[in-house]
Symmetry: C2
Amino acid sequence: MIGAGLIGGSLLRAVGKAGRAVWGTSASEETAAQARVDGFDVGTDTDAALRRAAEADALVVLAVPLPALPAVLRRVDAVAPTCRLTDAVSVKVAVADAVARLAPRARYVGGHPMAGTAESGWSAGAAGLFTDAAWVVATDDGADAEVWADVAELAWACGARVVPAASDEHDLAVARVSHLPHLLAAVLAAVGAAGEDELPLALAASSFADGTRVAGTRPELVLAMCEGNRDALLAAVDDALGRLGAMRGALASTGGLAATVHAGHEGRLRWAAARDPQLLRVHRGTAPDELRAIGRRGDAVAGWSG
Amino acid sequence: MIGAGLIGGSLLRAVGKAGRAVWGTSASEETAAQARVDGFDVGTDTDAALRRAAEADALVVLAVPLPALPAVLRRVDAVAPTCRLTDAVSVKVAVADAVARLAPRARYVGGHPMAGTAESGWSAGAAGLFTDAAWVVATDDGADAEVWADVAELAWACGARVVPAASDEHDLAVARVSHLPHLLAAVLAAVGAAGEDELPLALAASSFADGTRVAGTRPELVLAMCEGNRDALLAAVDDALGRLGAMRGALASTGGLAATVHAGHEGRLRWAAARDPQLLRVHRGTAPDELRAIGRRGDAVAGWSG
């Protein structure tokens, strides 16, 4: 496990709890010391951890923010060039590009466990963070089937369900349902705080509290996430701008907001209906296009069949 | 109490619990019957309830949606033309205009208890709905000081704090922190559900769940609230559109989102800091401009002094 923050620290705990051998490394001596106090095998020597992974043919998991990735990938290429490799970064195309450039011999299959809180750091982690969460496993044509299975088994060991998706369709989806919510929350918080007096914020109730909650996330985390998904995010922002502009036009002309409000209500109902995905079992080595079809239907993979 | 839905029903319970005489009326026989089963004096004869209020010189509270208001105001003018009158509608200028047109002799001071849930109807009501909530009491120049005091005492009896504000500044404030959140939630829910497959909604996690929560509100309630505040809402929507457009430009040109994300983070921190208003006591008959200054500072009135 490279990185022992919220995600890496939670993975160390979850994998350890599942009874599998796991060791990690952190760029911060303080974080590594905290993890050791809690009984985990975490140091600060990335090369040593990678060398050990190469010797054991272990799956290397990159749980560092996108901006920290290039430096880590250079060490992978130097120390464990052909290792089994995955990651927990919230964008997939940018990571795949970086791996292809900086650690091209690695047997890489991307991953994205869809879990998190507004907190960060080792102490915010928990073994149960991934329970019943969606864990996207990148399912591009030509993906290494053995490493794909490794990543799926890691997700299942952590209590998550596997959602197979191509890297680019993952990025378009999270732009809409994860990155755009952060940007709209930021805009809403800024509008609420923009007045010259305190009256608006004093009158803000639950609709404002919920709508701006993720604006409380540490800005550098939001920036790393959103800026790494620029093209997909532009499409999502343009969709939102188009709908907001059409609504503005209707409000100014007829005063009617029915189209906007009804479309939003239907979207929320569709979201609620999607909370209970069908959990399937698949044969090891199922073809990527068959796996991707499962994700597009909104279903997920929970284990091997047969 | 004219109306026994979420707000009217909660007011009946809270006022009754405070030991004050209260009776009500509902347009729905079913609602009135439910309220009577729960021990409340609620009928369906609005004229009778208003006549009784006129005889007792009681404060009449209009707790009906904005579109239902004109018909009720005509009954007020016919049966209790000079009654003490307030309301619980979420916009203030439109109600004041309707009162001036349809019940011009009423001694009207507007009110807006800032509480609610996504639920509605008598059964969703609760005596504690207004506990520690902000309750805006319209504080326009020339307001009837005696009725202003009646409305303030009603709010305090329900456990709320009084936020004095002019009708128009109230409407501008709630456009930003209450109506705009509903519209952005609707836009976000529509963008999330817009794709041709189920993958985006399957990957939607807590940022999307929180950001779209109020899109689950009954559309007719959102429409009544937002469409009744058209001018103030246009200003808030234009502010949001301007910020979103600037962000889009920055994302497309430099790829940088720092300005947006930092402004949002600061806004959310300012909101958090405003959660603990100073609670003041004022003399009965304090001048409107002095009262409004309290609201603009983000503070509130909790009782009479001296």
